[in-house]
Symmetry: C2
Subunit: 172 residues, 2 copies
């Protein structure tokens, strides 16, 4: 179906947000970057998507200023992708949407839980700490395996995330 990428005439900040992050897989790439994934091969095995799709999504996110592409090795050339301030600011939206999915889109329970590290307390469904009431930045949040995590996947990122992990700390 021929659908324009721009939601023309939609004078709405949601429409503008969806122009940037409303394409399939885009928010899952952002989620992985929040977890701490930085390298092409790690996105590839953890997301399990075709190379062409991943390359396109990464390029879109770089062009939109959500990811910063950094050369970390010269020979052979290798880049890593790190969230910008604009990308980091998506954390509450990604989190709130994921919590909705946990409540409503099936599944036996939380696969992962999110905690304010300083308080050692879980976040509520709006991303506030249930102890101090603040909304911690992602680097202050620890993700832990939840009761419904199946441990079936054995790519390097999934393996590393079987243990508690501070968001944005490089994975795996």
């Amino acid at each position: 179906m021929a659908l324009g990428k721009n939601y023309e005439g939609q004078e709405c900040s949601l429409a503008r947000a969806l122009e940037l992050v409303g394409e399939r897989w885009t928010l899952l790439v952002v989620r992985d970057a929040l977890y701490g994934v930085r390298r092409y091969g790690d996105f590839l095995t953890h997301l399990d998507i075709p190379r062409a799709v991943l390359s396109q999504r990464l390029q879109t996110l770089v062009e939109a200023g959500l990811l910063d592409k950094r050369r970390y090795q010269d020979s052979p050339p290798r880049d890593e992708y790190v969230l910008t301030e604009r990308g980091l600011d998506l954390w509450p939206a990604v989190y709130v949407l994921a919590k909705w999915g946990e409540r409503h889109a099936g599944g036996p329970g939380p696969q992962r839980t999110f905690h304010h590290a300083a308080c050692d307390a879980p976040l509520d469904r709006f991303s506030a700490c249930t102890a101090c009431g603040r909304h911690p930045a992602p680097q202050e949040v620890e993700v832990r395996p939840g009761s419904a995590l199946t441990f079936e996947r054995d790519d390097p990122v999934s393996l590393a995330m079987r243990a508690p992990h501070r968001l944005l700390t490089p994975l795996p």
Copy 2:
């Protein structure tokens, strides 16, 4: 590009949420339903999308249990679409993503502002009332024209929303 609809192997509630609402236009249909749009023709003119796409999105949302389809007239038969509890629960995710769009995806300022009606106070970027601190349900929220609203659109929904409007109150 041949992309599966299921994010297979993604043991993540965000992936499950995106299976339901990650298709183009779907969240904009939910947004309009939160505003109070209920009828096919009003979605059509306000969203300005092809009929086939709208019909498919509405059907998807009904099948996913986010919208309830109700016959409101028998001759000729006419249906309206009303958010279920599961659909209403998307309000914080839609709001938080829209606020991100307002901050980062361009635009001169807010096209619409959202207020806790009982307190007459704006919501913060996490959907909490800046006066009482609660997260009001959508029916307690008033949407008002913002400083950047251009008043260019003249479909019935856009016209009705030039005035302050309580979410979920039928539009136009």
